[in-house]
């Protein structure tokens, strides 16, 4: 449950949205992407009220969910082709874009293999590719690197950085504080549905004496008590 959450993310930022399990990260992501409706409050994206502009927002938003939300029985190419067509992309442009992404993520050789046969990292890469296929203005990533090997993680994070350089705004949730510290231009820490801190990683570390990194700040703000509630 979210309470009095106020977030403002500027164009071109990589905003790290951090918090323990059950803090409200996925709920926030679900509301932003239109999967859940907020009981109250106001939300704007791309300078437009969300409720009235849902169609426009869906077209310009990219979501990479925590689950591998693609069709495992289809090949990587088929998945990308179908999701691209749903975004209304022109077939020719879509083909070029798919090949570009497959090349970027090193999956060209696997394009005609069923996703079910892929490693966890490869699946995560396809999951991410679906989210950025249509060159969204805002990319929301819900724990995109969870459960994958270091090599796959590096490929994904490098691609996120280059996307950001191209002007894509990124909202990113993670439990990996080191990753967030290196990737994000700004982070917000949420706990119990409330935003408890928000600044650049360096600013947050500096504001909390005795904390050498973002993880120490995070633990100071959210405590060491175990959380097991699903968000």
């Amino acid at each position: 449950m979210l309470s009095g959450l106020c977030l403002t993310i500027g164009r071109g930022e990589i905003y790290g949205f951090l918090g323990p399990n059950g803090a409200g990260k996925t709920t926030t992501v679900s509301i932003l992407s239109g999967l859940l409706s907020a009981d109250s409050g106001r939300m704007e994206m791309f300078g437009r009220p969300c409720e009235e502009n849902r169609k426009y927002i869906k077209q310009h938003l990219g979501l990479v969910p925590q689950n591998i939300a693609i069709f495992p029985e289809l090949t990587a190419y088929e998945n990308l082709k179908i999701f691209g067509a749903i975004y209304g992309m022109d077939s020719k442009a879509l083909k070029i874009r798919i090949e570009e992404l497959l090349g970027l993520f090193g999956l060209m050789a696997f394009k005609d293999k069923k996703v079910a046969s892929f490693s966890g990292g490869m699946k995560r890469s396809v999951n991410l590719m679906v989210g950025i296929l249509h060159k969204p203005e805002l990319l929301i990533l819900d724990e995109p690197t969870v459960g994958i090997d270091v090599q796959s993680k590096v490929v994904i994070l490098e691609n996120l950085k280059s996307l950001n350089k191209e002007g894509v705004t990124i909202l990113y949730t993670s439990h990996d504080m080191e990753e967030a510290q290196h990737l994000c231009t700004r982070v917000g820490i949420i706990d119990g549905g409330k935003l408890v801190a928000e600044d650049t990683p360096e600013g947050l570390i500096a504001a909390h004496q005795g904390c050498e990194d973002l993880e120490a700040v995070y633990l100071r703000l959210t405590g060491r008590k175990l959380r097991n509630m699903e968000d």
Partner: protein, 425 residues
């Protein structure tokens, strides 16, 4: 349109990549239709062409015995054996008890003479103006004994007893008419044989099979004309398992939620499922139809004939497909796991098909089940098919069933869309 086509393409690919699902959708109905038709055809054949063994002991050796024997021999239902003169009633009992014969008929000695005597007494008393009781007091008891094997089908039993009653009544009436005619001729002093009651014409029974009320004779009911449409409908409704499983899987792996964050309207998502599964149902029908039309005669079963109503059969298939798809969506809206959907889908379709007259035609069901069958969408489908295949119906005659199927589909669609609204994605 592009979105719809890509969703249809996706559902089509998912369907053809699921080999077990394909067997389930397309092979199962073919196996069921041929097995069930073969079994039922066998049962019908045994009822019509396999004769019941019948032993007649004619101790009368007169007109009654001869008439009953001729009457039974004239029926294809019975394989008649006349016992030799040395056989006794006890022997007949034993032979039926041992199962040598399913029926034993014993016509006692002097049966014809006793009947004639009884009629003479009756007619004489009537013409003499004596009370009925006077004649009855003097009458002999006459009966034909029938020994039956307990395994004998009740239909055969009823037919046999009817035949016996008819034969004995006919001969009794004949004697009575002759005796009355004789008395009338005597009293009226008419020339011999001038007046005879026996010459009266019997009431004729004309058999007419009606097709759509126009008097044209149509197909009689047989295993093929029931099973081809019946198992087509069963297969059509069995898609609920595949459809609801597919939807639940997409909901569980997050691909449905992802689609909903894209410019993909929910009605377009549903429409793609409707189109893909409606095509599946049409293919199922065409496969079962092809089997009924061309393979059945090869294996000795009667061929399925639609009497030129192919187009209307397609209409029924599409209406049934919509009802099944609606039911599948309804199940997926309430089931939370694939297992729940599979179990509920399978059990509900088996129950609906059983009460709907798929396994056993409704006219063979007890009254309460027959009444219950009216609530099954499969019954509406099979009734529409009967209308086309057996009664040579037209669009108007199948319209009530088609409307029921579409109404059922509409209700299921509305409930599942409302339920989707309350569920978290």
């Amino acid at each position: 349109m592009k979105r719809l086509i890509s969703l249809i393409y996706k559902d089509f690919l998912l369907l053809i990549r699921d080999k077990a699902g394909l067997i389930f959708l397309f092979v199962m109905p073919l196996v069921l239709v041929i097995v069930m038709t073969g079994m039922q055809e066998g049962a019908f054949e045994s009822a019509s062409s396999q004769s019941v063994s019948l032993l007649i002991l004619d101790a009368d050796q007169d007109e009654i015995g001869a008439t009953v024997t001729d009457e039974m021999r004239g029926q294809d239902l019975f394989a008649v054996t006349v016992a030799n003169p040395s056989t006794t009633e006890v022997d007949v009992q034993q032979m039926v008890k041992r199962g040598d014969y399913l029926v034993g008929i014993v016509i006692q000695e002097n049966t014809t003479a006793k009947i004639q005597g009884n009629i003479q007494k009756n007619v004489a008393a009537a013409f003499a103006g004596l009370p009925q009781s006077v004649a009855q007091a003097k009458m002999d008891t006459v009966s034909i004994k029938v020994y039956l094997d307990p395994t004998l089908n009740s239909t055969f039993r009823t037919t046999l007893l009817c035949q016996l009653r008819e034969a004995s009544t006919a001969i009794q009436n004949s004697y009575m008419f002759d005796k009355i005619s004789e008395e009338v001729n005597d009293r009226a002093m008419l020339p011999m044989g001038e007046f005879s009651l026996s010459a009266a014409q019997p009431v004729g029974i004309e058999e007419v099979a009606y097709g759509n009320g126009n008097g044209t004779s149509v197909e009689s009911f047989d295993a093929t004309s029931h099973n081809v449409p019946a198992w087509t409908l069963f297969a059509i409704f069995f898609i609920v398992i595949s459809l609801s499983g597919n939807i639940i899987k997409e909901r569980q792996d997050g691909s449905f939620a992802r689609l909903m964050t894209m410019p993909c309207p929910y009605p377009t998502y549903l429409l793609s499922k409707v189109i893909v599964y409606a095509i599946v149902c049409l293919v199922q029908f065409l496969l079962v139809l092809a089997m009924g039309k061309w393979l059945f005669p090869v294996v000795g079963l009667s061929a399925f004939d639609m009497h030129g109503n192919f187009g209307l059969c397609i209409v029924v298939v599409l209406c049934a497909a919509l009802a099944a798809i609606g039911f599948g969506l309804l199940i997926s809206a309430f089931a939370t796991t694939h297992q729940q959907a599979s179990i509920f889908g399978a059990v509900s379709v088996v129950i609906l098909s059983a009460i709907g007259g798929i396994w056993v035609p409704t006219f063979l069901m007890p009254k309460f089940l027959k009444a219950l069958s009216a609530v099954s969408p499969l019954n509406w489908g099979i009734e529409a098919f009967y209308g086309l295949v057996l009664r040579d119906g037209n669009f108007v005659s199948i319209l009530p069933q088609c409307l029921l199927l579409m109404g059922f589909a509409a209700v299921c669609f509305v409930i599942s869309v409302l339920a989707k609204g309350r569920k978290s994605l």
